[in-house]
Symmetry: C2
Subunit: 230 residues, 2 copies
């Protein structure tokens, strides 16, 4: 039943990096691994929040279909990120849907096992609180982006945020996630044509670039300018 390598893999998930060997062994029995092909749904909004999801590889998109007809991407999650935590904790259904943005493998943890985990092992509740507060900061930032100004400003902020993890190196910074124009549009609450027009201009001006390695920001200073002072 238990993949003999499970413990090793699980211990590499940041969320569980600090826990005891005993907790890891217990976790390995509770978690199961699943793989999803690009585009496959992990869960739908409103569905009963039966599981906590932890991304091991690939990328998972969490989004919400709005009454206005649009789709708003709430976040794209990668290695180590937890999904569905809020829903699992408060027991109401998932507040959004999730699908595999690229081929992805995830660990799933049943709701009850998660509660047991929080109760039984020391320090896990604190880790959860820290994680939640961190995510609230991220959400606040995104609220600011969405409410902040024009579409140009909002796209610049998103690209800025995606590049933020990379060290301040010279040369182009490639985005860690493949994003289509439609994805960007869904992230900033705009139409695809608007996004294309803005990005075409940026490309012409040498601000960004695109090749087989993906999308990149060529002029971080100018991008920061757009995201900051307009």
């Amino acid at each position: 039943m238990i993949d003999p390598d499970s413990i090793g893999t699980i211990s590499r998930i940041p969320r569980f990096s600090g826990v005891s060997q005993q907790a890891l062994t217990w976790l390995a029995e509770q978690l199961s691994r699943r793989s999803y092909a690009k585009g496959a749904m992990l869960f739908l909004e409103g569905e009963d929040s039966s599981h906590l999801w932890l991304v091991e590889s690939g990328a998972v998109k969490v989004f919400r279909s709005l009454e206005s007809g649009r789709e708003l991407i709430l976040g794209i999650f990668r290695f180590g990120d937890a999904i569905g935590e809020v829903a699992v904790i408060d027991g109401t259904g998932y507040p959004a849907s999730a699908s595999a943005h690229e081929d992805a493998t995830v660990w799933v943890m049943p709701r009850q096992a998660y509660f047991t985990y929080l109760e039984r092992f020391e320090g896990t509740a604190i880790a959860l609180i820290r994680d939640l507060t961190l995510r609230m900061r991220v959400m606040q930032r995104r609220m600011e982006d969405l409410g902040g100004g024009g579409v140009e400003y909002r796209i610049a902020r998103v690209l800025q945020a995606l590049c933020a993890k990379s060290p301040d190196q010279p040369g182009p910074v490639y985005l860690p996630i493949p994003l289509t124009r439609q994805d960007l549009a869904d992230m900033v609450g705009a139409r695809i044509e608007t996004v294309i027009r803005i990005m075409s201009r940026w490309q012409k001006d040498g601000l960004i670039g695109q090749d087989d390695r993906g999308l990149c920001v060529r002029d971080r200073r100018a991008m920061a300018q757009l995201a900051g002072g307009s």
Copy 2:
């Protein structure tokens, strides 16, 4: 030093309603009460997050001045709401500023006392987790509002949310908080003139009304229509 009535007042704050008499007594020693006149600042973004704030009466506006020049209201908090929790927990400075939206009295709790409180008394960490998840849901909703569509849709959503607590009664529903047009504009990320034009039209169409008791929604069905299906 301790207001003899403190314990009684504190026990009425929902956040502390379930705690033991012992914890209440301890809290009464840690908390101090402050009053702020309308417009006065409680704290500034970036300031060291030294205290947790609990609103007892009045209203406190939490907002952020964006690089784009706008001011985005992140929330307006009333009786029982906690402010600054995220900042206190993760120890980085306040991520936003707060001022008294109306004359307000608040309880302040030093950072260290808050940690002691979480450690010493049973169940408080769980209560915190529940509160955080609840607030993440609220934030997600606001993100959807901001990214969702036009200004009309966004204003409708805000009014809708403010009326949501009131029971589904016939007749006008007055907003629980006095809001100027500018406040609304800062909540939805729009200009004051745009807000005025939309609301003037609504007023003409009998959707909303305004009198000495404040702003009210007269036709909740139509408002829900705007917030839902456009």
